[in-house]
């Protein structure tokens, strides 16, 4: 890219790309084209270095010692919590619980919030496009407590039928748990509308933000949601770390989920008393370096500007959508009006699994399968899709490589 166009360009993806050492490799003799960020994002040097710095200079256990390293570790860990609070614009760090990821966050709410309060006659409302992580924990709660699971349907474009969702919202609805962005289809849900409608029925709302946080600045107070869950690894941070945001009043009333060290204040054999928020929900030694890496990922993403990243990804999505629509026999699955940079598709005569293999031999990494959203596949009556997803480091050249590799697949299966 020359200086003139670089100056004119609002976002220099080539420079961003250079921040991600993993992308500079060859796969099957071809330069890697990584189009699977919706499954897991790659980590920029800033994250790798922050983790290395912590491990090299600061590591010890947190909250336990008076020695220097323990204090450094505690400072790093609690600093990361403050970073996450700012990232979500939560009121207090008491509302930021570190978990393993979105899955654990949802299970925590299911077991600690829903299970003790819900019973026969109560309902939990989800939608037809949820990830298994936002289906199965609720099914477990239903089996445990006798409450019922309701599902708001989606339409052929992959949008939630809002009218039907509003009909399903009744005085029986106690909790609405929906994705902020669908991982299989890319649909961005009208979560603010949903939160308002749910609250006017007296129901609380959990948003599964796993696919939203890399593409949208999230303000939990503006959204008004009661719980918000996301994973670090989709945000260019490490695996094994994620965040559950919960409104303080709710977390305060919820019983601890797991018992052990760190989550207690006092223990005797007769009775234990629990620590205060948020540590009440963090039994055992946490993923300290993960939290440090996550904080660095938030710094990194905000340094690029989430809005600028999203605008760049939308350009790639529009380009790729236009190119793929021109390929005979290719059908895009998920054509919502508002989408994140996720492009699911099928190619007539070529099973997604074969597509994945062929693209891989061309160095193009996409995801194929049901994307942990089997009900979405059933709805579209397909066994699987191929899914290309774009992150901050993807370029127009990546889109062209995808299109060329799809041409190769059509040659093989022509």
């Amino acid at each position: 890219m020359n200086a003139v166009s670089a100056a004119a360009a609002p976002f220099d993806a080539e420079r961003v790309r250079a921040d991600f050492p993993i992308l500079a490799q060859q796969v099957n003799g071809r330069p890697l084209v990584y189009l699977d960020s919706a499954a897991s994002g790659q980590r920029p040097l800033a994250v790798l270095r922050a983790v290395e710095r912590y491990e090299t200079h600061c590591h010890s256990n947190v909250h336990r010692g008076v020695h220097a390293l323990s204090q450094a570790a505690t400072e790093a860990f609690e600093g990361a919590r403050e970073r996450a609070r700012r990232f979500l614009n939560a009121r207090s760090t008491r509302e930021i619980v570190f978990v393993r990821g979105t899955t654990e966050a949802i299970n925590l709410v299911a077991q600690s919030f829903a299970r003790p309060r819900l019973g026969p006659g109560d309902e939990i409302l989800i939608t037809g496009l949820e990830h298994h992580a936002n289906i199965v924990p609720w099914q477990m709660v239903c089996a445990q407590s006798g409450c019922a699971l309701k599902v708001a349907p989606i339409d052929r474009r992959g949008e939630v039928e809002l009218e039907r969702l509003l009909e399903l919202l009744t005085a029986r609805t106690r909790l609405v748990a929906v994705a902020h962005v669908s991982n299989a289809l890319g649909t961005i849900l009208p979560v603010k509308r949903i939160v308002e409608a749910a609250h006017s029925c007296g129901a609380l709302v959990l948003l599964d933000g796993a696919q939203a946080v890399p593409h949208t600045a999230v303000d939990v107070r503006a959204l008004g949601c009661d719980f918000y869950a996301f994973s670090g690894h989709k945000l260019y941070g490490p695996t094994g770390i994620g965040v559950l945001y919960g409104r303080e009043e709710l977390l305060e009333e919820m019983p601890p989920w797991q018992g052990g060290g760190d989550m207690i204040r006092t223990v005797t054999f007769e009775k234990s008393t629990y620590n205060e928020l948020p540590w009440k929900f963090e039994a055992g030694t946490p993923n300290i370096s993960g939290a440090v890496g996550l904080a660095a990922a938030m710094d990194y993403l905000e340094s690029l500007g989430i809005e600028a990243v999203a605008a760049h990804e939308q350009r790639l999505l529009a380009l790729a959508t236009g190119e793929l629509e021109r390929i005979p026999g290719l059908e895009i699955i998920g054509t919502a009006a508002h989408k994140a940079s996720v492009l699911s598709f099928t190619l007539r005569g070529c099973h997604p699994h074969d597509l994945g293999t062929i693209l891989d031999t061309e160095g193009v990494a996409i995801r194929t399968g049901h994307h942990c959203a089997m009900p979405v596949m059933s709805f579209f009556d397909i066994p699987a899709t191929a899914r290309a997803s774009f992150g901050c480091y993807n370029t127009e050249a990546d889109v062209r490589a995808l299109v060329a590799a799809l041409g190769k697949a059509r040659e093989v299966f022509g």
Binding site: N28, C350, H351, T357, I358, T368, G369, M377, I382, P383
Partner: protein, 147 residues
């Protein structure tokens, strides 16, 4: 890794025009197979004369490897008894999983699956039909899964 080695002409042909495809009416046994990872599903029907498979058909939706493997399998096992089928499966399994395995001449057209060994993530696609046939032979009505 060479795509041409995986998607040999025989594979592409059997994918496009699977042999013995469609339900077998009046079958003695059938079984369903499912690979939840990629969504492959197939049903295998067999007609038996004692221990011998006198007719076999299959139906299902799957990738090229799973469809072609099932198609080739139906051609290969027709007329064989259970012991011979088991022996054949062991040969096929070795071909699918061992790098540079020499395809035994007795494998016939099944040797076309030899490229799969270079693509470990695809082995299950090719073995699903064999597991399903095995379930049918055991006259188990239960669905089998490769997971």
């Amino acid at each position: 890794m060479d795509l041409k080695d995986l998607y040999r002409d025989v594979i592409l042909d059997h994918n496009r025009q699977p042999r013995n495809f469609g339900a077998l009416t009046g079958a003695d046994a059938q079984a369903d197979g499912h690979n939840p990872l990629c969504g492959d599903r197939l049903t295998v029907w067999v007609q038996l004369d004692g221990d011998r498979v006198t007719d076999i058909r299959f139906e299902g939706k799957g990738c090229a490897i799973s469809t072609a493997s099932a198609s080739l399998m139906t051609e290969a096992v027709k007329g064989k008894d259970k012991a011979a089928i088991q022996a054949l499966y062991e040969q096929v399994h070795a071909l699918l999983t061992q790098h540079n395995a020499e395809a035994d001449a007795s494998l016939g057209k099944l040797a076309a699956l030899g490229g799969v060994s270079e693509f470990p993530s695809r082995v299950k696609c090719a073995t699903l039909c064999w597991h399903t046939l095995n379930a049918a032979l055991e006259r188990s009505a239960a669905a089998v899964t490769t997971e």
